[in-house]
Symmetry: none
Subunit: 213 residues, 4 copies
């Protein structure tokens, strides 16, 4: 009897965990599909039906996992931020601030290479603060600012090893621009592998400029 009881409990647990796992799997599948479609078509032009089709589920199913089209979009952004944020946190161990800066660039490039489609979602809001309205970009703008703040802090920590006749913010903005330019070129080139290799080039131009020494 006790075994049967234990068994029943076990089954319940199993069922629950199976269900939870299944939920996670569905959520991920939907988000992956949505990343593809949003990335390809843009938020407004994406039809929920298309996302469902890409995910291989019925439209109604989406609403068992997300409350609305916007919720899906937000969840993708949040998820991406979380992942990138986690990767960036690992940089804290690096002693030298300029090395840390270089690795930050490398991490971002690596992240984009891994999550190409996700990136174009970011493009829809991150690069264009004017177009995309309040609802959706709040969190993301904060994230952009957070990265810029980190770059600024690294530069400040570098002290006299970088120029002091421009404020750290200005230098950070410049590096941000160079990173974006590399990304843009990479996207235009069709997202071919090798973005990470641009790290050295970007850092070289950032640190030493276009003039020969």
């Amino acid at each position: 009897m006790s075994s049967s009881h234990a068994n029943s409990q076990e089954k319940k647990k199993d069922r629950r965990s199976v269900r939870e796992e299944s939920r996670a799997v569905y959520r991920q599948a939907i988000m992956q599909a949505a990343i593809q479609i949003f990335g390809r078509t843009g938020f407004r032009d994406t039809k929920i039906a298309d996302v469902a089709a890409e995910a291989g589920v019925a439209t109604g199913t989406l609403y068992n996992y997300f409350s609305s089209k916007e919720d899906i979009f937000q969840s993708i952004l949040d998820d991406g931020r979380e992942r990138l944020g986690a990767e960036l946190e690992l940089l804290a161990n690096i002693e030298d601030p300029l090395v840390r800066l270089r690795e930050l660039v490398r991490v971002m490039f690596g992240f984009l290479e891994q999550h190409g489609a996700l990136f174009s979602i970011y493009m829809q809001i991150g690069v264009n603060p004017v177009t995309f309205k309040c609802e959706a970009d709040a969190g993301d703008e904060a994230f952009r600012q957070a990265i810029l703040a980190q770059i600024t802090a690294f530069l400040a920590e570098a002290g006299a090893r970088v120029r002091l006749d421009h404020p750290s913010q200005t230098l950070a903005m410049a590096l941000g621009g160079l990173i974006n330019a590399a990304i843009l070129a990479w996207v235009e080139g069709g997202c071919q592998p090798g973005l990470s290799d641009q790290t050295e080039v970007i850092m070289d131009l950032f640190l030493y400029g276009a003039t020969p020494r």
Copy 2:
């Protein structure tokens, strides 16, 4: 009689030119209105009715001057490109390629300051080649490339006055990134006057980098 005939012809001409002028005035009014609304609301979220209201005409009237919502949008872009292109052509007179480069930056910044609302239209397509689909961005991407090509040419013309261990395209891309960064910061700051003043800063960072000499 001949005078009367001449008169009649003149009248016809007048009438025709008056009509043409009137058409041009309407077109301009509609485009101005559309720039405001598109800039404020984004392409997809803009309603034709709002553009018409802003322009002070009936919705049907728009379709006497433009064939569709997209046509209006495209016309705005073409118009802007034409104007900026004309301003950039004036640079040809400048001898020194690096001075020419600096003035190119200044011209772009000046243009943006003058056409703030127009700029955010550009944002909707120019900065994000991924999102905005084929129909609309063809012309604009070409324009972007044209500017980059010009920058590249200027840099090539500068010969050994710039580093030769990176291809001119790479340097051009870097300058493009710095320009974009400055623009982005300007927009985030609320498009306050003074963007042109960033020309020196951008060129300084581009040419000499972040490392003290």
Copy 3:
């Protein structure tokens, strides 16, 4: 010239009044159609598309005249209330309160005979205070109460000509019940002409009861 000017003004006026008239015609046509369909199908089961079809217009057209499905429903109720209210006001001239009461019954019966379909709309909210929730019934419940209040007042004015061992409100409630019963029977009988003829019967039963004198 002045004549031409006057003419132009006239035309404008004409156009405006024609337009206003046209608007009114459309509104009425849509409301009539909606009365039919709501009456036949009930609020929830009525599809906007059906109303539009019945009215002979496109679905979008409805929204040029009403802001929502509920707005159409409300407008029908308001309109009906207004008409019935106007008819009831004419009773004020009648001296004898009991005659006035009888004529009130006759007016209500006559109104229903004229607006049969409209009646079943009333049924959807008026008779069932429990089911139909807050949004829609506020105005109508108030109207019901207003009529009951009027009946109550007439009875009070009748003084000792009616029984004083029950409060006027109770008597009014009873008369209301008799009216409703007659209406119900009339509806069940297929809304055949002759409802007004029930006035005397209802008043007779109300005043003298079921017991022979």
Copy 4:
């Protein structure tokens, strides 16, 4: 062995009757829950999920006991009719037809007081023969008619003790209207206890009318 056999048969019986009892318990629980929710929200606005939640079962379970949402609704009505019918049958013992009539009113009032929520379900179809369409109201309309027929019969049985210048049906209809009015007032007053006390008032007004003797 035979005992074991008998035992086994007994067990089967037990098991079956246990199962049947269990089925009945579930059915009742679901119907009770549905009465609450339907009464609160109305048929169309009630979600099966809400009924299931109120009943404390899964949505799928409902469909093991009822074939559809409408089936649940119908079952509630049938059940209520059955119960009320049973109570009304007890009146048969009463000799005097007018006393029987009075007790019929009392039984109905008592039934409503006991089954308040059920009542508002009745309201959704019983009082409004126009709105609620054929599928659902057939049974109920029949029941309404059955009650009216009973009232009519009682009145006919009363012979000259009631007025003969109106057909019994008309008198029955009048009493039905008075009953409804009392119910309506009771509902509007929030279903406070004491509805049964209205029996005397209703009968008094029905029998003697509003005119003092």
